[in-house]
């Protein structure tokens, strides 16, 4: 205690030093404020100048590039390409290169067939492709991700294996982008990585991959069986999405096995896939699981009955409507409507206790 008091006394006696500390702090703060103000002005001015310059160059280049893409005269085209290449080789003038890349990329996204090929060809002939490769290898993760996306947009198929290297990259965003672009450039081969994938694929990434798949000219996905039996739950989920959206009826047996899966989300999705594929014959197998399922899954089974069932299921549904759970009663009564038992529901609703009757009346209101 005495030591502490001594410490305070000593500190207090050095009053001049206190002034020094405060003055120093004040000086530093004022200096930092000044620097920050300069930075604000500089950022704004530079941004304005760069934007204006970029717009000006872009307008000029737009006509040149359009003319190259749709040029019928080969000699003239060669000349134009030479000019463009020379412009891009000027290492000090990156603005022109960036503007051209932006124009080409926008065009590639809007074009198809020969016109798209003409855009891709410009990348090859003006050495932009080499530049992309160099940046892909040397630059930071954000540039890598952007370059990979650009390669995909321009459809530089010869760079497939370069992009493939990044499908397992340490930075998630680069990895995710590479997985989609590989699919874009290489088709189904691009999904090979799923067969052995250990890390989880996020829901977002699954959607990206699925969106890309929907653009491919396939209707058979022989690998879904492998994915559906994967030990990686996220791969199973992705497999289920593919099975659903590409009507993979041949996966029926795998789907039945998944009804016993320990992951609730997988079981839920499996039942949805059954419904989506209209596998009426399998409904009894789904119903067998009903007693062992959680309420969330029971609701999903009831939805499936509504879609796949027929009037013979009405006793099962009426039994479910006696439940005390709101969601089960609501879904069972909705399914009664879907299997064409509206009149029966009207007739029997008053025989239910008040709580269940109110829920049934809710389901009967067609405006909901």
């Amino acid at each position: 205690m005495g030591g502490l008091i001594d410490f305070f006394i000593t500190l207090y006696n050095y009053q001049q030093q206190k002034y020094k500390i405060l003055l120093l702090g004040l000086g530093i703060l004022l200096f930092v404020a000044f620097i920050l103000l300069i930075l604000i002005i500089r950022t704004r001015t530079q941004r304005d100048l760069a934007e204006r310059r970029f717009r000006r160059i872009k307008t000029t280049l737009e006509n040149t590039i359009l003319s190259i893409v749709f040029q019928a005269d080969l000699n003239k085209r060669t000349e134009q390409i030479k000019t463009l290449k020379k412009l891009f080789e000027n290492k000090k003038n990156t603005v022109a290169r960036d503007a051209a890349r932006e124009i080409l990329r926008t065009m590639a996204l809007q074009l198809d067939g020969e016109s798209l090929e003409a855009v891709t060809q410009i990348y090859r002939e003006t050495n932009l492709k080499e530049l992309l490769l160099q940046e892909l290898n040397d630059k930071s993760w954000d540039v890598k991700a952007a370059i990979i996306e650009e390669i995909g947009d321009i459809r530089l198929k010869e760079l497939l294996f370069e992009v493939l290297k990044y499908t397992d990259y340490e930075v998630e965003i680069v990895r995710n982008r590479a997985q989609v672009v590989v699919l874009k450039l290489g088709g189904m081969r691009g999904l090979e990585f799923l067969n052995t994938l250990k890390s989880k694929i996020s829901e977002w990434q699954q959607i990206q991959l699925l969106n890309q798949l929907l653009k491919l000219p396939y209707n058979q996905y022989p690998r879904t069986k492998i994915w559906l039996s994967s030990s990686n739950d996220s791969v199973v989920m992705f497999g289920l999405k593919v099975t659903q959206h590409f009507q993979q009826y041949q996966d029926k047996e795998e789907l039945i096995k998944l009804l016993d899966h320990q992951n609730t989300e997988i079981v839920k999705k499996t039942i949805k896939v059954f419904t989506h594929l209209g596998l009426k014959n399998e409904l009894e197998k789904i119903k067998l699981h009903y007693p062992n399922y959680s309420i969330e899954l029971k609701v999903e089974v009831l939805k499936a009955i509504g879609e796949l069932g027929d009037e013979s299921d009405h006793l099962f549904l009426i039994d479910c409507m006696m439940s005390d759970d709101y969601f089960i009663v609501k879904e069972a009564s909705k399914s009664m409507l879907r299997i064409g038992q509206k009149n029966l529901l009207y007739q029997i609703k008053d025989s239910f206790p008040d709580y269940q009757r109110e829920i049934i009346e809710h389901s009967l209101d067609e405006r909901i």
Binding site: L11, L29, R44, A145, E149, S199, E203, L210, D365
Partner: protein, 501 residues
């Protein structure tokens, strides 16, 4: 100046200790702000780089997009309700519903909505997972194009109660709570849901977004067309405050997994976890803070590996109070909400079971959000007394205060720089100059109002036992109301919502 020698009085020791404590607390505040600001800047730039590669539209086209229920409580919003519902119905997202909860409004909020959207009562029974005040009626539109709109009319029970009623009727997997009078960016749902879906390892239980000040912005058909710095000085100070809190605060806390508050103006939550945690508490006026803390706590206690996200982009615009009375009432309420949450979850305090939440985030909130204004007030009071008594030299106090004020100014300028380098919402150079000037006078003017409101909040909570929300007055963004249109400055294409007096 009093000289000290070896014979010390009790007062001398007290002054010495006090001096050191003031120093240490001030330094710790500055240091923590600095660390948080640097982390925020780092993360904001990282997010900016990453978001360039994110194709948000992919979820818009996807059949796998999760369903979202937007729950917007409305109390006496007759001026704005039509425009606000329209704005909510025009968001860029495929799979969502809008639930408006009329919380016993005493004006024509419900009637206006019924008339504008052709609403009719339906037989709607909700699961009542969360207890609420009685529901009077539930409405749907006769227009099939508005099938994703649901309007609940209920007895008044406060914002939390209204939110709970909305959650009971929600069909979505996720609940987005918003203040009905806010203006959402059209791609807000896409940006809010993206980090939740892009979480492979942990369960993303919630996501917050940046709230910006909409006063004097040009708004057309519920969309922000031009961002302006508010003309009203109080609103301008609040603009700086919001920028600091969101741009240089919550971003870092999210990164450290310690973000306690998801603003009531905009937040998206996992419905299952929200209901399991018990929904919004009706016992607090700070329900937004309380639910965030409770959901985190619930996950920790149940061994759920969770994550709370924050999108550092401006996603929602809100009208801030322009009158002193309204501002003081609002801040008073925020303080009481904070105290209620802190006391309701006091077992988190330095509790290692809750890891970062218990050891850092919660104590930080206690010391720097709750205690800081109190300590500041009593610190200033003590310095003033010491000055009067001649126990501390005026020059020393002036220098000390000047240093603190300078730090506040530097922090504000850093925020403006961060805004300039990241989201660049204030395109007008004149606007930025106004903000900088406001930043220079804020620490010696507006700041004291906030401290006062906080003190009053503490007084009201502990001495008066006040629990109500307090009256709120909205200027309104509604351009449809004819008599308002007459008073609104109209540019070529859009109306600027500044009434001419």
């Amino acid at each position: 100046m009093k000289e000290f020698d070896t014979t010390l009085s009790g007062l001398d020791i007290f002054l010495g200790v006090l001096n050191i404590l003031i120093y240490l607390f001030t330094l710790s505040v500055m240091l923590s702000y600095l660390i948080i600001a640097l982390l925020s800047l780092w993360y904001a730039f990282k997010h900016l780089k990453a978001s360039k590669s994110i194709n948000y539209l992919s979820i818009l086209q996807s059949p796998e997009a999760p369903s979202i229920s937007i729950v917007a409580p409305a109390y006496n919003e007759s001026k704005t309700i039509i425009q606000n519902i329209r704005s909510l119905l025009s968001l860029d997202y495929g799979n969502y519903e809008v639930i408006i909860v009329n919380d016993g409004s005493t004006d024509t909020t419900l009637e206006n909505a019924i008339e504008a959207y052709e609403l009719e009562p339906v037989r709607y029974i909700s699961p009542n997972n969360l207890k609420t005040q009685p529901i009077k009626a539930i409405y749907r539109s006769k227009n099939p194009a508005l099938k994703n709109l649901l309007v609940i009319d209920k007895e008044n029970g406060g914002k939390a109660d209204a939110l709970n009623a909305g959650i009971n009727c929600a069909n979505g997997d996720y609940i987005m709570n918003i203040d009905v009078d806010c203006i959402l960016e059209r791609d807000c749902l896409l940006k809010m849901i993206q980090p939740i879906l892009d979480e492979p390892e942990r369960l993303a239980i919630a996501s917050g977004g940046v709230v910006r000040v909409a006063n004097d912005c040009i708004i057309d058909k519920g969309v922000i067309k031009k961002v302006n710095v508010p003309k009203n000085l109080l609103a301008r100070f609040q603009t700086l405050e919001y920028l600091r809190a969101f741009l240089l605060g919550r971003v870092a806390w999210q990164y450290l997994d310690g973000m306690l508050l998801i603003s009531g103006a905009l937040g998206i939550f996992n419905k299952k976890i929200m209901i399991a945690a018990g929904g919004y508490s009706t016992k607090t006026v700070g329900e937004d803070l309380e639910i965030s803390v409770r959901m985190r706590k619930y996950c920790r206690e149940n061994g759920i590996k969770y994550k709370v996200h924050f999108v550092p982009e401006p996603l929602v615009w809100t009208e801030v109070p322009e009158k002193l009375g309204q501002l003081l009432r609002q801040r008073n309420r925020w303080t009481r909400g904070s105290i209620e949450t802190i006391l309701a979850h006091k077992n988190l305090f330095f509790n290692p079971r809750y890891k970062f939440l218990g050891l850092i985030a919660y104590p930080y909130w206690v010391f720097y959000e709750w205690f800081a204004p109190l300590l500041e007030f009593f610190g200033l009071l003590t310095l003033f007394i010491l000055l009067i008594l001649g126990l501390l030299p005026g020059l020393y106090i002036a220098l000390f205060l000047l240093t603190v004020v300078s730090f506040a100014i530097v922090f504000t300028i850093t925020t403006i720089y961060a805004e300039e380098s990241t989201y660049f919402q204030y395109k007008d150079a004149k606007g930025i100059r106004k903000l900088i000037l406001a930043g220079l006078i804020e620490p010696v003017s507006y700041h004291f109002l906030v401290v006062w409101a906080s003190l009053k909040g503490n007084w009201d909570y502990f001495i008066e036992g006040k629990v109500t929300w307090g009256k709120q007055v909205r200027k309104g963004f509604d351009r449809d109301t004819i008599d308002r249109e007459k008073k609104i400055l109209v540019s070529n294409t859009s109306g600027k919502l500044t009434p001419i007096n």
